[in-house]
């Protein structure tokens, strides 16, 4: 990672170099070239754009649309509950509505919006031209649109899931119709898109910062993105594993959650909440990160306690994984176990509180200007604190037992989510709006909508605490009169319409045409961070030239920064070869190490998303042949996309990027962004795998007869043999990499061919070792979980084979050479993880069951 100054030229730039005037003729020419390269496609081709500024906008607006739809469902729920024994909605439709309200708000709004906002503003904060993998953002977005429309659309056909947003078996398993399948497959699809976004954002923060922006100088938002990205990698995969097991039971009757055949519904609750509780913080942290950007600006001073906020983000990220059982206090777990989770739930208050105190401290010592974003932040702090306090109450198991599944919970969770997410995000939209539209939102309408939202929210949800304490259970479609709930429900319903009015006003302000209004000033709030160097009127290039940064608030502290950026004084001010480029820097000190070419507009991402959608949507209707065809086409699209546009061999080895610095264009291994992308993706993948293995040991712990006495096991000899051959395939892949590096191309190719053969042989042996016995996955949960692991291993070995073949083809067609070997480096990383999977699978499928 260290920079050899002699090899790359001069770094860091001296003040004299920065002071040197830039030739005006060159300024004009380079500006023109840059503009041409980054031009957003026009007309119908607009939809092939992959630039973060376009994809980010679509992403935000789509998430906002889904939120408004889910809000309409909530209003219908409130109308139904306004008076006792109402018949506005039937019981069945009510079930669908509250299930979709929760599912859509969580999966189609809260989590995707974090990704959307980050894709939109993170490159600006980091002075980067774009995200490191623009087509991946676009692919994730299109997956989100297709999955979201499919899931939410089911409400219109009376076919929506109706078992509550956490889909507890046995209710959700036994549920008739396709509702549960829509939930499982549609949302798995979106979860995968979320993981893709997390990978991109983590790599963006670690590798695409501007030169000089050391890790102690990065905007706090970037710290939060890093933490939340990491949390997504460990929180979403357990749910994906759970979804897989659930769908295997729904579709093929493998009894993972069926107690009659050894299964256990509690496994779902664990997997769901290992995801579900961190998810609350995945929603909360990036929203509070917006507050961390707004607060210093309105206080007109640097944030107080930067290190403390970093501590609080990282600490919350960790502790939030120790809370999941507090959603399961009434399930009869050992009291001591409940104690651990209760204690951890109290402990998480410490880091969560620290950041709020840091904000308050900043406001106290600064000179605050009360504007609309600050109004929303103030509202957020008030509401979130109230939600946090009921959270402390609910973390106590005995109190929790009393109010479990009542409206007290509904009140608590809405207080945390409105205070922790909705209000900060609205603050962020008011604050950042000028960056991405070059207009400002109306302060007058903003104040109106704030007060409507704030009062409407409290009128709706404050009474619910009492409704819950009076014993009204959640999720009932109606209630009898005379229980003391009538007037409270009526008040809540009235409040909900005031709240809705606030949202409508906001939506109008957001979407009303503003072409007649003047453009915004460039830095209307007088903020100190880099996104406020944006160009007015809009330019698609992201930033005119990538600056050298020496402060946490460069716009406040670095003189002449904006002039120099605009003059093209800094890095990458030109696009001489007509390629889209951004800088890659080192992780800690942000020393420039590579000039990375990024991809431009393409339809292939949209086509790949359509086929991926087909692969997930057809199985919902139990139609499998088209699903398989779609999956194959999706794979082909992705391969085409990788082959044609990733790690292309550059026309020159290195190029001058300005200020006397010359950087390599190609990087492979840990130096490259792609390698980090693979590493992070595989971390998520490994988490999903460990969740499946957790399932095996969960059954062993909770069941007295797992594996049942006298049950058949996989054939040990074939299993060990197969495992050994598969490990051989791993070794061959590594050998291919090393031979290739040393220049022995022919030897590398042979090793890859042998590796493919070994993969097939080894996998056939493992499959045979299970299938040659009488193990029937429908008969009992033991053979079922063995088959689930087998399925997982087979799919991964198949991907490993495709990768080996891809590199072999690359070597044969000159895309992969001893010098340009990024693909081979990346697949070796995949195979390391696969090696781990193979070893664990052989142990769990072949050896442990005999031994336990």
């Amino acid at each position: 990672m260290s920079l050899r100054d002699d090899a790359n030229g001069c770094y860091p730039p001296t003040e004299a170099m920065l002071d040197e005037p830039v030739d005006e003729q060159w300024q004009d020419n380079s500006k023109r070239r840059l503009r041409d390269v980054w031009k957003t496609p026009a007309g119908w081709r607009y939809w092939s754009a992959v630039n973060n500024s376009e994809v980010g906008k679509w992403y935000c607006l789509t998430a906002f649309f889904f939120m408004m739809c889910a809000g309409v469902l909530a209003l219908a729920i409130r109308v139904q509950l306004a008076v006792p024994e109402n018949d506005f909605l039937s019981a069945g439709r009510f079930n669908q509505f509250f299930t979709m309200h929760g599912s859509a708000m969580m999966f189609l709004f809260a989590v995707p919006l974090f990704e959307a906002i980050s894709i939109l503003i993170l490159p600006g904060m980091l002075g980067a031209r774009d995200m490191p993998f623009p087509r991946l953002s676009a692919f994730g977005f299109w997956c989100f649109v297709i999955g979201g429309v499919f899931v939410l659309g089911s409400v219109l056909f009376d076919a929506a899931p109706d078992s509550g947003w956490f889909m507890y078996p046995p209710l959700a398993i036994e549920s008739e119709g396709i509702g549960s399948d829509i939930w499982l497959l549609g949302l798995s699809f979106i979860e995968i898109a979320s993981i893709a976004a997390a990978v991109e954002l983590i790599v963006g923060v670690l590798k695409c910062r501007p030169p000089g922006m050391r890790i102690n100088l990065m905007p706090l938002y970037a710290w939060y993105v890093l933490v939340v990205g990491g949390m997504i990698l460990f929180a979403f995969p357990p749910l994906i594993a759970g979804d897989l097991l659930f769908e295997l039971q729904r579709s093929f009757d493998w009894p993972f959650f069926d107690p009659d055949r050894g299964g256990d519904p509690m496994l779902w609750q664990h997997l769901f909440w290992i995801f579900g509780h961190p998810e609350v913080y995945i929603i909360f942290l990036p929203s509070i990160a917006i507050a961390a950007m707004v607060v210093p600006t309105v206080a007109r001073r640097p944030i107080v306690g930067y290190s403390w906020i970093v501590l609080s983000a990282v600490g919350t990220g960790f502790l939030s994984f120790g809370l999941w059982v507090h959603h399961m206090f009434t399930t009869g777990l050992p009291a001591l176990s409940l104690g651990f989770f209760s204690a951890a739930s109290e402990a998480v208050v410490i880091p969560t509180g620290i950041q709020l105190f840091a904000f308050v401290a900043t406001l106290m010592v600064g000179r605050v200007t009360l504007n609309v974003p600050m109004l929303f932040i103030a509202g957020a702090l008030a509401i979130f604190t109230a939600g946090g306090l009921t959270g402390v109450m609910l973390a106590l198991a005995p109190f929790n037992w009393q109010v479990h599944d009542t409206y007290f919970i509904v009140a608590h969770l809405h207080y945390t989510l409105f205070g922790g997410m909705i209000f900060p995000v609205l603050a962020g939209i008011y604050y950042f709006y000028p960056v991405f539209t070059k207009k400002v939102l109306s302060p007058r309408l903003g104040k109106w909508s704030f007060w409507l939202l704030f009062t409407g929210f409290n009128i709706t949800f404050l009474p619910m605490h009492l409704t819950g304490l009076l014993g009204m259970p959640r999720r009932v479609y109606t209630y009898q009169t005379g229980l003391g709930w009538d007037w409270l429900n009526l008040i809540s319903t009235v409040g909900s319409f005031i709240l809705a009015a606030g949202f409508l006003l906001f939506a109008w302000d957001l979407l009303r045409p503003k072409s007649r209004e003047p453009d915004t000033a460039r830095n209307p709030w007088n903020a100190g961070t880099l996104e406020w160097t944006h160009d007015v009127p809009e330019e698609a290039w992201g930033i005119r030239s990538i600056p050298y940064i020496r402060s946490r608030y460069p716009l406040w502290d670095q003189e002449k920064l904006v002039e120099r950026i605009d003059a093209g004084r800094f890095y990458l001010a030109d696009a001489a070869e007509g390629k889209r480029e951004t800088l890659v820097t080192s992780v800690l000190d942000a020393k420039p190490i590579q000039c990375m070419r990024v991809t431009g507009p393409a339809w292939i991402t949209l086509i790949a998303a359509l086929f991926t959608g087909g692969a997930f949507i057809f199985p919902t209707f139990h139609i499998y042949t088209p699903a398989v065809i779609c999956a194959v086409f999706a794979g082909a699209c992705i391969l085409y996309w990788l082959w044609t546009s990733t790690a292309p061999i550059p026309e020159q080895d290195r190029k001058p990027v300005g200020l006397g610095l010359s950087l390599p264009i190609y990087a492979s291994g840990p130096e490259s962004a792609g390698w980090w992308g693979v590493w992070i993706t595989m971390l998520g993948d490994a988490t999903a795998f460990i969740s499946l293995v957790f399932g095996f040991f969960f059954y062993w712990t909770t069941k007295t007869d797992f594996p049942p006495v006298g049950s058949e096991h996989a054939n040990l000899l074939f299993m060990l043999l197969g495992g050994a051959v598969l490990l051989g395939a791993w070794a061959l892949t590594l050998y291919a990499r090393d031979s290739n590096t040393k220049g022995h191309v022919a030897r590398a190719r042979k090793a890859l061919v042998l590796g493919i053969i070994a993969s097939f042989t080894g996998m056939a042996l493992v499959i045979w070792s299970v299938r040659s016995t009488g193990m029937d996955p429908q008969a009992h949960v033991y053979p079922a979980i063995i088959h689930a692991l087998l399925l997982w291993l087979t799919a991964h070995v198949a991907v490993g084979v495709i990768m080996q073949g891809y590199c072999l083809a690359g070597s044969l067609f000159g895309k992969l050479t001893p010098r340009y070997d990024a693909d081979l480096q990346n697949i070796c990383l995949f195979w390391h993880f696969l090696g781990f999977t193979i070893v664990v699978c052989v142990l769990v499928m072949g050896i442990f069951p005999r031994w336990l």
Binding site: V314, F318, G322, A335, L336, E346, L588
Partner: protein
Amino acid sequence: MKKPSTHDQEEREFGEEVDSLWRIVFSPLVWVFHFLACYIVTAIICAKMPAGDTLAGLRWFILGITLTSLVGIAAIGWRSWKQWGFVDDGVKVQDLPTEEHRHEFLAHASFLLSIVSFIGVCYVAVPAIFLDSCR
């Protein structure tokens, strides 16, 4: 901003710590292992133990791993405290563009996380003081 000559020296002194970003998560990781150990061992013992047995052994086990974890976190915290060097230079806000500030910032964050992790480990161990049964 330091002069270029000292810059080279800093380069040698702190340039080798590419992995030190990981170091800030060590203390929370100890918390994770402690938490998982408490939870998993309790779950297995409560599921497999014959009814009526006391949890004395389990509670000793929890005491043992709690003390071990606390010592581990304290060691990490002490190391970060030294690396931060607050008593030497009194720097609380590491916002300069130097290797030294980056170096001390990571130590500062790691130190603060050690405190939170220490408290977290104590919290998680508390139930084992008061509860002596699985039910």
